[in-house]
Subunit: 390 residues, 2 copies
């Protein structure tokens, strides 16, 4: 944020700057380029600039004014969005939609909270425990606990959680995982548990699609499938009607539904995505390139390491593919505080501590704009050289 303010302020000063200060400003602007974005999927922006004509959204002044939409089941859901989501999953083959109810939310963040609300029995003496195998998505603990609900409570690493016979718990299974990228399955057994599968990254540009996911409650989001994070639309595929209805009740109490303008735009974007095979190829090629670039730099030294992934047959591409996750789970092999070390070199990451891991790890976004990604790679390369020369 400081960097953004600096950039805005200094940009206006360029007009009457001396040559020396221009150089300093340009240097600072370049540094800022890789510092200002850590989770924003701006990688896709160029694609949509070139191919986005088919999904321009136009809304007239009098359209979609009502709270109510046209879904027969959930009052605030636009039927066309429900339909296009089903078609998209059919085309990609990444999730079963037959016999599933679709609940729309303001991003999958809201749907995650809707799931906690729907799956926590209201009459328990103690809150339902919420667990996930570490390293887990860093927002899970915060979002679970910020309202100090007595319905549910964060209980940490699922791999060490042992429920008693009637303990109520929810296991969050993120697959492929944020931040590590590996494919996961639920691990907790016993008690009265329910898994929630967060499949935000189960798209062919990030991981081989091995079969349609077929779980009781699955979360997806527009931001990770097309890059349109600002539209704030996510969806849940839910097997049990009562669970879906209670999730929809949460959305009603929380925000009286979801912006219909955003739903209409999401429907346009996802429909364009179905029709445009080249987007999948663009995104997959871009992610493969980035991971190759990253690995080629990291193998030049021993300062950093990232996980290895097993290639697998991808039913969507019809070939064997390597995973190319949205984040690199980077380990500093020599520094105890990897985030701090990288920040000093102009690389902004998120420390492993936030993910239930230790501070020698960081999560590094692979989804920034291409120019920022190249700056990032250059800086990592310089850090490798620096240690090799010492």
């Amino acid at each position: 944020m400081e960097c953004m303010k600096w950039t805005l302020k200094r940009s206006t000063e360029l007009v009457d700057a001396t040559l020396a200060s221009v150089e300093e400003i340009v240097q600072q602007l370049t540094t800022c380029a890789s510092l200002t974005s850590t989770r924003d999927p701006t990688m896709f922006e160029n694609y949509w600039r070139e191919h986005g004509d088919s999904c321009t959204t136009t809304i007239l002044g009098w359209q979609r004014m009502s709270y109510y939409a046209n879904s027969k089941q959930f009052f605030f859901v636009q039927t066309e969005l429900d339909q296009v989501i089903r078609s998209l999953h059919d085309v990609i083959g990444n999730a079963v939609t037959e016999g599933r109810h679709i609940v729309i939310g303001v991003g999958s963040t809201q749907l995650f909270q809707a799931a906690l609300y729907a799956l926590s029995p209201p009459d328990r003496a103690t809150p339902t425990k919420v667990v996930s195998v570490a390293p887990f998505y860093s927002s899970y603990p915060t979002i679970t606990d910020y309202l100090k609900s007595s319905l549910y409570q964060w209980a940490g690493d699922a791999s060490v959680y042992r429920p008693q016979s009637d303990d109520s718990y929810i296991e969050l299974v993120t697959t492929p995982n944020n931040p590590t990228g590996e494919v996961r399955q639920s691990v907790v057994s016993g008690g009265a548990g329910f898994p929630v599968h967060d499949l935000a990254y189960y798209w062919p540009h990030h991981t081989p699609i091995t079969s349609p996911a077929d779980h009781d409650l699955m979360l997806f989001t527009v931001s990770k499938s097309t890059g349109h994070a600002g539209t704030r639309i996510g969806w849940a595929l839910v097997k049990d009607l009562k669970v879906a209805q209670k999730m929809a009740k949460f959305i009603e109490l929380n925000t009286i539904g979801v912006s219909k303008d955003a739903q209409i735009r999401a429907a346009h974007i996802l429909r364009a995505r179905i029709g445009a095979k080249q987007l999948f190829h663009f995104a997959a090629a871009e992610m493969s390139y980035r991971w190759q670039r990253l690995r080629s730099v990291l193998t030049k030294g021993t300062r950093f390491s990232v996980p290895e992934f097993q290639p697998a047959w991808c039913t969507f591409f019809g070939e064997i593919r390597s995973p190319a996750p949205a984040f690199a789970w980077l380990r500093c092999n020599e520094e105890a505080d990897c985030e701090r070390f990288l920040r000093h070199s102009g690389i902004l990451t998120r420390s492993g501590g936030y993910f239930g891991s230790n501070t020698s790890f960081v999560r590094l976004s692979m989804l920034d704009r291409r120019a920022s990604f190249e700056i990032l790679i250059d800086r990592l390369e310089k850090l490798q050289s620096a240690v090799d020369m010492s």
Copy 2:
């Protein structure tokens, strides 16, 4: 909902129906017309059909993809929406914006929860009490308590609430009030309290604008000012930067910001509203007409009564005006369960019991489409005649 399903199903059957069944279907469709909407501000739809050309919203495929917007203060707020809100209040004269921070939410419902989060000290042994003078907005108790937060808790009618010296509480002041329409001020004193002013209905078509509202935390919403409920945009005017920042933090944790598509559309709509004086005249004339119609029917008998309001000088219209609230707080003078009685006659309302009052009252929406409103008036008239003839 049943009625909607029936309508959809039967509409498709009209093609091959006999004359008798067509009559039955038309009758049922007419009944449904006044039953399907209780809080939807669809009254404005016709206006925007005729005058909405200036606020058509077009969004290209590549635009506004990022989570982040262009506000320097709150990462997810579009600056153009912030600016147009300030201009709107300047033109209407209904709120002070100077020295205020604007926080955008998914409707004022989300901002209400953001305010509870921001104003409840996190370290108290007991939850902050949330109170409002009865009759109060029926969603306040439900929305306060649905997550069983230990930060805050609904504590009922503010007029009987007596805080101890260091009790933490929040008083919700809805003015003009939903459901009763009267102008209100905060009533609780002592303790460590903070008033939240819900000004959703403080617009010149509902109540005379007597002076710019000048409170510490004020809530407004697009749905009640232009009728665009489906866009889901509300705003808070907040004096204290730390409170505004904590509200913005809630919005971030709850939904990672607010749809930028919805923000852009809201900015277009509100800008059109500033430029188009005729909308205020349309809405004010329509509301005056409806209240005159309602009162003229109710004075024909003694079965029902509604509150009387004092006219006052409206600075916006520059004349003395009578309030014309969005809801009529209707009393059945002979029936103990007014909601049930009206439902049997095809009039859907919300019982006084939900508003902290008794069941001889109901809240009746005055904002439905004109045709539905006329059906409503006809039915009330028939009910009056029925009792007079008996």
